[in-house]
Subunit: 188 residues, 2 copies
Amino acid sequence: MISKSQKENLLNQRAKVLWFTGLSGSGKSTIALGLEEKLFNLGYITKVLDGDNVRTGVNNNLGFSLSDRKENIRRIAEVSKLFCQAGIICINSFISPTIETRTLAKAIIANKNFIEIFIDTPLKICEKRDVKGLYKKARSGELKGFTGIDSPYEIPMQPDLHIRTENRSVQECVDECYREIISIISLT
Amino acid sequence: MISKSQKENLLNQRAKVLWFTGLSGSGKSTIALGLEEKLFNLGYITKVLDGDNVRTGVNNNLGFSLSDRKENIRRIAEVSKLFCQAGIICINSFISPTIETRTLAKAIIANKNFIEIFIDTPLKICEKRDVKGLYKKARSGELKGFTGIDSPYEIPMQPDLHIRTENRSVQECVDECYREIISIISLT
């Protein structure tokens, strides 16, 4: 079997899993997609995994119970590991609210390949944006167990990267991500 | 989001799922790995999915009941689709014994991206090889529901590629695969 490092050499990049964690509406996916675009324009090959392509695909038989949420993250981590083995930089955008689930993901992916990126946006800003109207539903009780409202978000204790988004543009956040991770994913 | 075709252009290849089906011991994985090596040496970027990296990973909570086998193939197809969307050629090696499961996989992946490759090795040869000792266990009744013994293998009716392995070397089979698929995965 062709090894990870052989594929990394072919692609001229180091494969890592960039794991974005943060509240709903924090801007995780927007920043993740902006980073993918920036990396693509420089010739890096990446795969963004997020709720849109995972919850409708490999995890379309999972709900939002505690055990399903854990299984959701477990499968995502296993899929990310497959991408990583293929030399691809995996950019994951998931609330992944608990230290336990992120620790599980890290253990599956392998410590050295797991880069935790905390997208730090105050709850009041996420709730004000409320792009999908989910906070409103959570406040009214229509939606139960919503992270930040009636389900906890456990802040990463030692993230590899801590991006504060308040009063900053998407591009500034993308650029900060890029500056911090480029040496990690560059071969040379 | 960067599209499939943008990534295909960057990688100078067309992303497809090459789905190898055949009996246990038919030589599927050996040929799949040989094909990956050949393609890698020509600069193509691929990912081989097989029991070794799927049953121990994303599908490590599935058994061999009918419903678990179907879920096994469903998840594999969804993961393959993610690779395909990322511009990667996915080479899958799974017994996938029934027309129903292969049809399910094809529907998930999309017809135009699903290339069915039937690795056709007579049962008597597979059983004679018995590399993993599984046929012996199946004959003795120790292993139940084993494909080809007490569980059916439904031959593909119209595979995109039909590789007969009897009296041929691995390299001959790999070369035949290569000749048949190269125009499908080439951009130019």
